[in-house]
């Protein structure tokens, strides 16, 4: 019987040596050829999600998953293929070892719609995607009227996964109604939130799934030119999407006449300019046009005046990957999952002080408690949960009392945070919430485009004030200044970055006011994070040199390092 070995080669597992494991499997199969009777295929797949236990190796069709596999384990695994599984590499559950991925607590509560192919297929192989029903949705869409495609998307209740949650079907309908050609479709793959890697996993693990969504969108709105705007730091994603484009074009899914239908679509990849703000749709458009990546000041939406002032659809990677699924199975089926206002699932990147960090896909409406304590396995080192930051740097930190809130677009906004693109950073009681707010504000101050005054100068002021508070120099009046600047930011900024930039401060101020009070009145940081002006801070290079010398001396003592380097000179 033919067996397939899937080796996770997502960014996390590559860092843990996933590529070496895959190479070692190939080597071992070649040397053990005589002993192995089964045909084994090695596939380098996209991210399996369980990054904290990588590299992951999955044996199909037996569905056995091994964790933290090293190259030296590959021989043992290959020899065990028709015998007993290698026990020490399995997931150690409460009731013993667990063979199947789906049965581990990390996977069992998840529902994989967007990630349906990620980790299952070799992203470099278009036939793998086709074998799992890929491009069938496109064939179906070609037989449908654009109006019917849009109606199906509207029926699904799909909302934009980039953060704002605008109804996708409505967006497409608006763009489709303008009689102004050519129209454009843009995929926003400029994922920039610290600690977020959902879009990356999708582009690297299932590039054809994303691409198929883009093509169907173009058919629905009548676009003839597409752009895939991908963050330049994501070298793997860029390569993966470029390869997928070439393969799809060769197979006739793109080009002058898609599958002989006479409808044409040409797509090119645009490398992002390295700015967080270019994830904002109008800044992204400016960037593609070759201008500085600053959001536009106009009151017109891209659906009316987008790229080169033509109607343009911009959707997030995760939005697009849901499209083939909706066309395949129907909007009504998709709408069965989720809450009344937010349908389907959402991919989160679970990070921070949580045991099982990684990529998680949960149905909308799941509580944060379930995601963090069931899927995530609780807090590292059994410490106390303090807060979870959702929605990236411009989201908010929510306290334990709100953990039972269902996650959907509207609930999170109501409580001062937002869904954002799906980052979820868990913090324990060793985290200082003032320092967290300061970190996020400093990030935003550097990444703001700097065009409008409230955002540029307001964030500079907030960052200065928060720094003062963390250094123990805060005064009670500072909180009033913070509040008024936050109000200004929210109401007068030019784009979404500025309008949401106050969230990290306002939410920590609302849910953790006592920490601000302590910092300002008692000059005390309960988490022990802020120096409050007392600790020795390295200020000049002479101090630095002294500290390096001390560390060096300590190292020599503890490891017995000889004081000679390779050239024989005294160090």
């Amino acid at each position: 019987m033919k067996k397939t070995i899937l080796v996770c080669c997502g960014p996390g597992c590559i860092a843990y040596g996933g590529l070496d494991v895959a190479a070692s499997f190939r080597e071992q199969i070649a040397t053990l050829k005589m002993d192995v009777k089964l045909e084994t295929v090695i596939k380098q797949t996209g991210c399996h999600g369980f990054c904290s236990r990588g590299p992951l190796v999955r044996i199909m069709p037996d569905d056995i998953t091994y964790y933290r596999v090293k190259p030296r384990d590959t021989e043992e695994i290959l020899k065990s293929l028709d015998n007993k599984p290698v026990g020490r590499l399995l997931y150690h559950g409460v009731g013993g070892n667990i063979l199947k991925q789906q049965e581990t607590p990390f996977y069992s509560a998840q529902k994989k719609l967007a990630l349906r192919n990620v980790g299952e297929i070799d992203p470099k192989n278009i036939n793998d995607y086709k074998a799992r029903g890929g491009y069938e949705a496109l064939r179906k869409a070609l037989t449908m009227e654009p109006e019917d495609i849009i109606a199906e998307i509207e029926k699904s209740g799909l909302r934009g996964r980039g953060g704002a949650g605008f109804p996708t079907g409505l967006k497409w309908r608006i763009a489709a109604e303008y009689d102004n050609f050519p129209k454009y479709v843009i995929m926003n793959g400029d994922e920039g939130d610290p600690g977020a890697f959902m879009d990356r996993a999708l582009m690297e693990g299932d590039p054809h799934g994303v691409l198929e969504g883009v093509i169907i969108c173009a058919l629905a709105v009548g676009a003839t030119k597409g752009y895939l705007y991908i963050r330049d730091e994501y070298a793997l994603s860029l390569q993966s999407m470029k390869d997928a484009l070439a393969d799809a074009e060769k197979a006739g899914f793109l080009g002058d006449s898609i599958l002989g239908s006479g409808r044409s679509l040409h797509i090119e990849v645009v490398r992002g300019g390295g700015a967080f703000v270019c994830g904002e749709s109008t800044a992204l458009i400016e960037s593609i046009e070759g201008s500085i990546g600053e959001p536009r000041a106009t009151f017109a939406y891209p659906t009316e005046q987008g790229l080169w002032n033509k109607p343009t659809i911009i959707n997030n990677v995760e939005t697009f990957i849901n499209i083939p699924l909706i066309i395949d199975e129907g909007g009504a089926k998709f709408a069965e999952t989720g809450t009344p206002t937010s349908k389907g699932t959402k991919v989160f990147s679970l990070a921070g002080k949580v045991r099982n960090s990684g990529l998680v896909e949960a149905p909308m409406g799941m509580t944060m408690r379930k995601i963090i304590f069931e899927i995530g396995g609780g807090i590292v080192g059994n410490r106390h949960f303090k807060a979870v930051q959702t929605g990236g740097p411009s989201g908010g930190a929510l306290p334990e009392s709100l953990l039972d809130l269902p996650i959907d677009f509207d609930t999170l906004v109501r409580y001062g945070s937002m869904m954002g693109s799906g980052g979820m950073i868990v913090m324990d009681d060793w985290t200082c919430m003032v320092a967290v707010a300061k970190y996020n504000i400093e990030f935003l101050a550097k990444e703001s485009c700097g065009a409008c005054v409230p955002c540029r100068e307001g964030l500079r002021a907030l960052s200065m004030i928060l720094t003062r508070i963390c250094e123990g120099k805060g005064e009670p009046v500072d909180l009033e200044i913070i509040k008024s600047i936050c109000e200004l930011l929210t109401q007068t900024s030019r784009c979404g970055l500025g309008k949401t930039a106050a969230n990290p401060v306002m939410s920590t101020l609302k849910y953790f006011p006592e920490e601000y009070e302590e910092h300002i009145k008692e000059k005390r940081c309960r988490a022990g994070v802020c120096s409050m002006g007392r600790s020795t801070v390295v200020t000049d290079s002479a101090d630095m040199a002294a500290i390096v010398a001390m560390a060096e001396a300590a190292r020599k003592v503890s490891y017995g390092v000889q004081s000679k380097d390779k050239t024989g000179a005294e160090s």
Binding site: A297, F299, E447, S448, A451, I465, S484, R494
Partner: protein, 247 residues
């Protein structure tokens, strides 16, 4: 079409921005980045006003880039708008305590003062990053200067801060600057701007230096047959043209 601004019914023209409608109707809205000759940018945010919808709820909009539509109901000096403008002015004067001109007038009008020590350690700054200079340069077709960096590190500069080959020394940037932030030193012989020094051309009639050689070179193809007029300063040029017409 008609709109209501601060309770006054104003006649508005299709395609016009709200700020212009207000000005034509005698209602002054403060603005720093807006300039008649330049496309709207909406970055200083001083021209914010409140837009009241049919059910009476209000939202803040930016009047210099907001296209007028029939039946708008606008409040330009509500309590909230005044409060926001004061914070904006405070942020600006703290950023650029050495700024000259209209920013100071606004600060006086709104009762705001600052010395650059509150949120910043840079007390020598004049620039408020309104982008008038770079837009003027772009509109003239030279694009010798542009904003560079982003966020709180943003500045206006020539490429890599080196003398730009595209700069013709016309000093249009300095002329549109609302805060006197652009250093332009003129002597009888030379002009220095953006790290580049230009020779001045003197008027053939009165002898006054009036333009750089590069500027005149740039103007040449644009004025076709009147090349000889470029020898005169704008003031003498008029007299010269009139004289030659009478001959």
């Amino acid at each position: 079409m008609n709109i209501v601004i601060d309770g006054k019914t104003c006649e508005a023209r299709p395609g016009e921005y709200l700020w212009d409608t207000a000005r034509r109707n005698g209602i002054d809205i403060p603005a720093l980045c807006r300039h008649d000759a330049l496309p709207g940018r909406g970055c200083c945010r001083l021209c914010i006003v409140e837009n009241e919808n049919a059910v009476g709820s209000r939202s803040v909009i930016v009047s210099c880039v907001f296209p007028v539509t029939e039946g708008l109901k606008i409040h330009t000096r509500s309590e909230k708008i005044i409060r926001f403008r004061r914070i904006l002015l405070k942020l600006l004067i703290e950023r650029a305590p050495q700024a000259e001109g209209v920013l100071l007038d606004y600060c006086r009008e709104y009762g705001v003062a600052g010395n650059g020590e509150l949120f910043n350690d840079n007390t020598n700054e004049k620039c408020i990053l309104c982008n008038r200079c770079s837009r003027a340069c772009q509109e003239l077709g030279n694009s010798a200067i542009q904003v560079t960096q982003r966020g709180i590190d943003k500045i206006v500069a020539s490429p890599f801060n080196e003398p730009s080959p595209d700069c013709i020394g016309c000093a249009a940037c300095a002329r549109v600057c609302p805060t006197g932030a652009i250093a332009c030193t003129d002597t009888r012989e030379q002009r220095t701007i953006w790290n580049k020094t230009f020779e001045m051309v003197k008027c053939a009639e009165c002898g006054k230096p009036f333009a750089t050689a590069e500027e005149l070179e740039w103007m040449k193809p644009k004025i076709l047959d009147f090349e000889s007029n470029l020898a005169y300063c704008p003031r003498c040029r008029g007299r010269h043209v009139a004289n030659s017409a009478m001959v």
